[in-house]
Symmetry: C2
Subunit: 262 residues, 2 copies
Amino acid sequence: MSPLPSGLLGDLDPTSDRAVFRQIADQLREAIDRGRFREGEKLPSEAELVDHYGVSRMTVRNSFSILQGEGLVHAEHGKGVFVRPRPPVRRLASDRFARRHREQGKSAFIVEADAAGSHPKVDSLEVKEEKPSQDISTRLGSVRRVLARRRRYLLDGRPVEFATSYLPLDIARGTPIAEPNPGPGGIYARLEELGHRLDHFEEEIRARMPSPAEVKTLHLASGVPVIHLIRTAFDTGGRAVEVCDTVMAADAYVLSYQLPAT
Amino acid sequence: MSPLPSGLLGDLDPTSDRAVFRQIADQLREAIDRGRFREGEKLPSEAELVDHYGVSRMTVRNSFSILQGEGLVHAEHGKGVFVRPRPPVRRLASDRFARRHREQGKSAFIVEADAAGSHPKVDSLEVKEEKPSQDISTRLGSVRRVLARRRRYLLDGRPVEFATSYLPLDIARGTPIAEPNPGPGGIYARLEELGHRLDHFEEEIRARMPSPAEVKTLHLASGVPVIHLIRTAFDTGGRAVEVCDTVMAADAYVLSYQLPAT
DNA sequence: CAGGCATACTCGTATAGACGAGTGGGCAAG
DNA sequence: CTTGCCCACTCGTCTATACGAGTATGCCTG
């Protein structure tokens, strides 16, 4: 195994209070930030860093685990540790549910992704009646049973978002909303046809680390948070007619809102 | 050292493909989710888990590091590992910059926190002229120099948010905006007095893991992401008159937006 | 030439041990 | 009683070693 090119990474400072594995992580982070390692590029192997710094393997692995936690790198078994590429982000504008966008036959997700040159896909479609959680029930005005529409969105094969819509059963049962494909304009178009003219939406946004189930569903690398968005749709009568609970891979999204100054 | 109460945590499954440290993390996570360990409560010590499961200490530590990465627990040197309490969250409504909220003498942050019974504080105040980053310059319409206003917000002694406002120098220089305390209603009130009547705001929201500097500034525990919000204020002439770059501790915030359905 | 296997290199998991440093309680000296 | 020290317990850091499992490459065999 050949040694690292000199100058690529510095030396350790034995007089420093900073732990050795942190110093190594600092040097790797800086090298990445400075572009010495580019996106997708392989970092030196554990063995190479062991030789370079004269430390044990666990110390090097400790450094890598810091960078993984920061979302900077990811390890591939049998291959190496790589600088995590920044995936293309999907921009969600606050007017994406405006009535004028609701005329096409295809869903907003498909239209938008096609326009951006990506290959969109929707899978894990599930539509069923169920008992809502306390939180969902409250948001919908204490309903006992709801129609739940679950689906997962993928871009170019990568899962980016998992969403569940909840609708009061008295609104949705027996309508196209209860079908896997609700038709052109989506469920919001159907709700308006059913007499629930939409007035406004409320969106709540949180960010947190994913649960193990979310890591699995969204194929999340370590160090990638999720954005948790809960949208409630209100009709002109002030009734909450839908709650949509969405979990998004945070590295795949930028949310954009336009707000009046009045 | 007395053994753990039996039944608190299960046994390992040696036939499972799942790594031992993951099985231990799973059991601890489940115990936390089920409320067997409450918020702020101490988990069994590393030594106790070593005895209970008959594994080495590094394996137990590995389990803890998983839970730390998920933001579920945090370790305190010399004390133990504790279930991370969910701090009270601050709710940011989308109308928080509406003109009607701009009449009071105190800043929105102070007013809001007082109302919630928290003890707010603002520190690290810095106001200076500087050369903007490429991104900030673009957002402000290719200005060469800006006034930067930096401040950190704390609730009950805990830093929760770090924000920098950038304003074109030709607007802000020599005005109260360039003073540490811009006066009642904040800089938006001053901008309007200067003839820049505000028309609308654009907000961009991202979530990601914090940089080491952000960890330090916001005293973030590991496993806590940040919400990165960039707000641009436009006057009625369509000019971008301010860009505010805000980094928030994600576990301290819920953002809330109200959107028209039209 | 095509296919399969050996091999070297990669990271993943786990053990055992050592010392350091922060915390808190109890005991002993004043 | 108060002060200060010691000690037990906690997590933090680091070493050394071992084996497993995924990947890629090149050589050998058919």
